[in-house]
Symmetry: C3
Subunit: 155 residues, 3 copies
Amino acid sequence: MDKLSFQNPLFTTYVIAASVMILKAVTMSWLTVVRMMQVRGGFRSPEDIKKTVLNPNPSAEQLAPNEYVDRIRRIQLNDLENLPFFLVSGFLFILTEPSLMLAQWLLYGYVISRLLHFAAYFTARTHDTRATLWTVGSLILIFMCCWTLLVALWQ
Amino acid sequence: MDKLSFQNPLFTTYVIAASVMILKAVTMSWLTVVRMMQVRGGFRSPEDIKKTVLNPNPSAEQLAPNEYVDRIRRIQLNDLENLPFFLVSGFLFILTEPSLMLAQWLLYGYVISRLLHFAAYFTARTHDTRATLWTVGSLILIFMCCWTLLVALWQ
Amino acid sequence: MDKLSFQNPLFTTYVIAASVMILKAVTMSWLTVVRMMQVRGGFRSPEDIKKTVLNPNPSAEQLAPNEYVDRIRRIQLNDLENLPFFLVSGFLFILTEPSLMLAQWLLYGYVISRLLHFAAYFTARTHDTRATLWTVGSLILIFMCCWTLLVALWQ
């Protein structure tokens, strides 16, 4: 069967996991926008304090760092450090044709670990909670990547 | 037909869009280099103010933030927040075999929105202009991602 | 032959290069964790100075920038600016079916350039050394991307 067919359950498992993660990542950008609008600040470019329709009462303070906005930026940076590598590693992993159950555990497990990591970071849980959830995702990523590498080297 | 064949117009549409976006992203790195050379500053590591062939007259001020360089870094960070997800989402989207016209509108539309976003950011247009152009690209990305997810779920 | 088969030496060349690069990128995250544990600092979120099992003696200084930790963060940011684009560009490049020797030179050459770049950055070599190694990788990436674009345009 065509490995990249939407009739292939391994491939659709990957597509579902990848799509949810991409939507999650894009949501961080929109959440940053929402929070910048709420506090009318957390901007970063000098031209952002020009008077415009969206910013009718500009002030220099709008360029100051804003923790309410920066929290989302940190979450987003964490996504950038993790998701692009998951997206490629997950794709190559399902091309090794592992068992469907293993693929579902790893790919959906990764998605769940990242959504819980977001919830913990968003609500400012302790570093230990956040780190534990990040570790689960990171170990899944390392496992998939090593598995794929070994399959490639042993062929 | 092989979905990943360069005879498949859906695939070549993706390849053209993806290649232009990757070249765009790489250009940001080179533009940062060019600007750092122009102002002889905007460096970030302590060892960057050692005397070398490329930096014959080092000074501690070279490590200070430099808006002329940092503008490109902000543009590049915006690329990192968007392009990797577009590259994966666009790939999965054309694998769902949409109509060629739809794929061309969305993929080339995304490319154009990002090039205009760069032009607006580079020339320091208002936040409203930049935000509008970013929104176009983001909505295209969300549309492709939801489309792909629905195809995967409905199979 | 199936382009995405692990019997296809072009594909396995890509898989090996991609897997090594992903593991390299993930290692940066772990290295950041190790250094944060060593210096008990370099944290970034207000909640990171709550008393927990992993941080039994918290203090406000733990949130101050820490060069020992920030060096790894800069290396990681450099990865984020380069690796996701290599991962996609390398994949599309091997789909153009170049000669195996060319693919091995470019893909493995890229991997070696990035590992040396890491070694130079990690040990704080001069900017010139680091920049030279980065340039090698960047030129390989640009070459692969232009090659792929031309193949797509000429079909």
